[in-house]
Symmetry: C2
Subunit: 342 residues, 2 copies
DNA sequence: CTGTTAGCGCATTCAT
DNA sequence: ATGAATGCGCTAACAG
């Protein structure tokens, strides 16, 4: 097994260093931590001794004294990791690599399990917690009687006195539609996903608002069903049968958009010349492999993670962030499904 | 901010409990930890006191004494999280939820960053480390002079004296081909991905072996390029132009298979009646949304995670696992692209 | 059965 | 500039 037969049998401690350097424990501590009350020569001896036995300070002991651990808990229900990974990366960015470490727990949508994980995180004395959901629908608050700050990411808390960061789906719907307008489209339909999702409703609101601002109306009703490619194929077939003259389709997910592209191709409609199609989520595996590649709205999840981490940090440092759900800006990623490649 | 104004100002400690219950620190400890040398009545008093002030034991202090933390580091380079999440879930399964917590660090393919993360994990005194790569090619070993056991998952270590668990790609290639044989196919081609990947080479080996065992030969050469849908579309077009009579295609990834399905559809070939297609990875988002749905090989990543966790555990408990790369079994998932739906 | 004592590894007083 | 002593929160010896 890849376990070192450490000469000492166990990890080196500061008192080992002190003994080798011929100084006291206190002096060794000061030397290692760069305190200024130690003679340069002494410091050098201590540091050499430390290197010699590969001493690394025990963060457990440090944390016990400091009262803070430099760890954060990431509590997720996002099984597929589609949302949690970019958020984790953003959090690592914000915390600074190696400065703060992240405990990742997956509650798997089970409230009991979530309570267990939460308790375990608190017992380990994390300095803060980020809760990540896999939908943008509000989720139950963990409550306020926790000894550490909590920030909700992607799925906001249902308690407005909590701090939540979530992508701005209304703005995303609006942005998608305005892009089609900018591409010269006027007869635009909207194929959405599961109507039970806040994301579906919010994006539809943005689409409608932007259309109204332009003095236009949606072609047909918003078509709700589920988030699948199958639905995208079926919905677009129905749509084109009823409204053969549409020239733009806003899809509420990239999966739906993939299905739409399929049907348009089957029906001999050119994309984007005849019909421009825009997806949502910018899920690269789907968006960059289609024919043509898919213009999409990106939720900036990594930035969302950074924002969540920053707010946790501020709270740890005692800075009162403003409570409520903060809708963060999204981003348009233009590809061939709305603008022809040259 | 969602921080409790904890009445005491800080978390309750065991001595708070002891004081309230009117017993000594040691007795409180025994009572809480279910030791048997304490009178039932006393235990009840202590537990009540603990609940009254919501005492939860400080794992830091416990770990400091025990010499083990009940934490494991998961060091990954898998940016997209496609592999690391199922592995994390498997690890949580094996460890038991809440028993062990996992530090997840993303080194982002940067060796320096990896060293930083590694050091941070060791300073936090994780009991073991699982290293996850995003390819099955061997990766540099972390070395043997670490104070904790290390197990490599998905990407094996290049040092055969390390412990690695990785999916059996040769068996997977073989399994894919044998399934097509079982479906009555005889004129079979293989469209693979980037030839620089061990996964591509290994799967091709399995395909060739199984063909040879059946006394057959591959139609054309193995076609290598990259892992994209684009390549799947192009490769299958070339393939059908040269060998119009093929009746089965083994694809080395689901993305490639999706492209192949597209081209077959464009060319008017029925799947699976005319040509059976099998993918690889069982990436559900791709496999379950295609027309028809895609038969695929699943690498059992969650099981891989469990295996890695189990081996880390055994090593922590001093059980010497057998070093080397362990190829774990994969699994066939049959859908409509090889067998017609009834 | 209960309490006293001694640490786990370290940082921080406060003396010298 | 250095070192002895104290304590972070807890468990494990022992002694009563």
């Amino acid at each position: 097994m890849a376990r070192a037969e450490h000469p000492s049998g166990r990890a080196a401690t500061l008192s080992d260093v002190a003994r080798i350097a011929g100084v006291s424990l206190a002096t060794a501590s000061k030397a290692i931590n760069g305190r200024d009350q130690v003679a340069p020569a002494t410091r050098r001896r201590v540091i050499e001794a430390a290197e010699q036995i590969s001493f690394t300070p025990n963060e457990l002991a440090r944390s016990l004294i400091a009262g803070r651990t430099g760890t954060v808990g990431l509590l997720t229900n996002d099984l597929e990791g589609r949302f949690v990974i970019p958020i984790l990366m953003g959090a690592e960015d914000a915390f600074g690599a190696g400065q703060v470490n992240v405990f990742l727990c997956d509650a798997r949508g089970d409230a009991i399990r979530e309570q267990h994980q939460l308790k375990a995180l608190l017992n380990r004395r994390v300095d803060g917690i980020i809760v990540v959901g896999r939908q943008t629908d509000p989720r139950p608050s963990l409550g306020h009687d926790l000894p550490v700050p909590v920030v909700y990411a992607y799925a906001p808390s249902d308690d407005p006195t909590d701090v939540s960061v979530t992508p701005d789906n209304v703005a995303g719907g609006r942005m998608a539609l305005e892009h089609l307008l900018a591409c010269g489209r006027r007869r635009i339909a909207h194929i959405s996903g599961d109507p039970a999702y806040a994301a579906a409703q919010d994006r539809a609101v943005g689409v409608r608002e932007a259309l109204a601002d332009a003095g236009l109306e949606l072609v047909g009703d918003v078509m709700f069903a589920d988030w699948s490619e199958h639905w995208g194929r079926d919905a677009s077939a129905m749509l084109l049968a009823q409204h053969p003259d549409i020239d733009g389709i806003v899809c509420a997910s990239d999966q739906i958009a993939r299905g739409v592209l399929d049907t348009l191709r089957d029906l001999g409609r050119r994309v984007p010349e005849d019909v421009a199609v825009i997806g949502y989520d910018n899920w690269e595996i789907l968006a960059t492999n289609s024919r043509p590649e898919l213009t999409s709205i990106d939720a900036n999840l990594q930035q969302l993670g950074r924002a969540a981490a920053r707010r946790v940090f501020e709270a740890i440092d005692g800075i009162e962030g403003d409570a409520g759900t903060h809708a963060l800006p999204v981003r348009l990623v233009i590809r061939g499904s709305t603008i022809p490649r040259r």
